[in-house]
Symmetry: C2
Subunit: 315 residues, 2 copies
């Protein structure tokens, strides 16, 4: 995979499964293959429904690059692919640790992995994610990004996740030039590092020539009904991926319908909304596309219905 070019960074979201609970010929169980390309490349998985390892093969991606898996909740359609994926990683001679984040990860992951006679030659490390309260929790920090979670409402412990690329301090070249600082990377680096730089006897301060470039933000709800926590986590997201089990005004506890999903996206002021976890009752794709097109007219963000193997790129 190509690394980011210059200061360009990239997020790729690949939908491996987009059905709700029960698979259909076109939609497998939930899983999202997530790639971030900054200075380095990072791959992670959000949810891991049954058949995820084969979907990764079919998408011509590499599951050996995955270092973190984030499970939203312990319903089988969201985690049943863990067993086989971990087993296959072992057969493929993985040696580096795999980190699995979930509410009650320690409890359930260790039980799951105690079944049968798998030979695991690498560590699978469970990380418990808080599933009560109203706070956003930072559950992982890397050099270039952070992962946050918040509890959502699904009748059982469940969370939503947020990938957040770190904000970057950028130099406004025109401003810098106006203050006598030429565009040289050694000078820019020093300025960013030390907050000031001297050039030909003139002192240039970072705050006078810089601005903040907000990092990309992607939020994935997992299964949930509407709740304030979700809006809080999703606020100003570049991409919000929501449970949208129903494309009618079905009020089911524990899940969202399309009206609720769009309302949440609107309140959270997101740029793009992807609807996934789609009930098998919607076999006619054109019909749900029509419903969404009608609704989306009233909002100024994109609304997309997820399909298996669909990719969305943020640059």
């Amino acid at each position: 995979m190509k690394k980011g070019i210059g200061n360009m960074t990239r997020v790729e979201v690949l939908f491996l499964g987009t059905t709700a609970s029960i698979p259909t010929p076109k939609r497998n169980h939930p899983a999202i293959y997530f790639r971030y390309v900054g200075k380095h490349e990072y791959c992670m998985l959000f949810d891991c429904g049954e058949g995820t390892q084969r979907q990764i093969f079919l998408a011509k991606e590499n599951f050996m690059k995955l270092n973190e898996i984030f499970i939203t909740h312990w319903h089988a359609d969201h985690y049943a692919g863990l067993l086989g994926l971990i087993e296959t990683m072992s057969l493929e001679k993985r040696s580096s640790p795999l980190h699995v984040f979930a509410p009650e990860a320690t409890r359930f992951l260790n039980t799951l992995l105690s079944v049968g006679y798998g030979i695991r030659k690498f560590q699978v490390i469970a990380h418990d994610v808080p599933f009560k309260g109203k706070e956003v929790t930072k559950i992982l920090e890397k050099e270039e990004y952070e992962i946050f979670s918040i509890p959502v409402k699904h009748g059982i412990p469940a969370v939503a996740y947020c990938f957040k690329e770190k904000d970057r301090v950028k130099i406004d070249k025109a401003k810098a030039k106006a203050l006598g600082l030429p565009s040289q990377s050694v000078l820019y680096k020093k300025l960013k590092k030390e907050g000031r730089v001297e050039y030909k006897g003139r002192l240039v301060k970072l705050e006078d020539v810089s601005y903040i470039e907000a990092g990309k933000k992607v939020v994935y709800s997992g299964d949930t009904e509407a709740c304030d926590n979700l809006i809080k986590l999703a606020t100003n997201a570049d991409l919000l991926i929501l449970d949208c089990t129903y494309f009618e005004d079905v009020k089911e506890r524990n899940h969202l319908n399309v009206y609720e999903a769009i309302e949440i996206a609107s309140q959270a002021n997101v740029k793009k909304l992807v609807l996934t976890h789609i009930s098998r009752r919607y076999q006619d794709e054109r019909e749900i596309e029509r419903v969404v097109r009608e609704l989306a007219k009233n909002f100024d963000f994109d609304v997309i219905i997820a399909k298996d193997f669909m990719r969305i790129e943020l640059k």
Copy 2:
């Protein structure tokens, strides 16, 4: 599904997954959907690799008809589909019990089902299958068939299974007629039930006018290396389904290669051999077909390479 017509009975074997360990675009994890149609229809599953529920959908079969699942051993590629299948059965409102047979079934099945928040509204009953020794064990008996098992060699507890339609006592109509007994079902039934029948003053004994029609026999090895137990269980089978991980002379402990598989079938005097559990290293189907065609020339039974969604019918 149609019931058996008259005295005709039918066995259908549907291969849902035919890969070894790691899935490929064309081959999913091991599972066999097995249907027997006698007086009634019975459906069962042999092994249940990841993605089996979706393969059943794709094959347009009905997993709600399954009453028994037979797991050969606890490597994930042979059982990881249980979780999702059982969950989906529950979502589909199954109420009748499901019987799962396996070596150490109680230990592992109950642990597996303790993971997560599945809502099971039906009983899942674990049946422990013996995995030591040299004896064939009858593990299930129904009105029209029996299931047997025998331990095989795979480095961990593992068994092979045998489906055996019960032998039937049939009346030789010509012989019966010669002894003065007309072809009337009420007389035939009485003769079969009581061993004798009187008609117009003449006594006709069952042994004088009957013969035994052997029931159909199908044996599935699961993963194993060559062993006498397997030959014992497979003797005179109409259909033998074998682990054939390699189509070269690879001597790997725990698995069979094509030479060993054909030798076992020959020694067991089977009518038809199906090779499955095929390593992903064989992407060129024509090449392995060529190998098998060459070898099969020397034997008087059919040899078939399994493919996903292949069906074999025995009448």
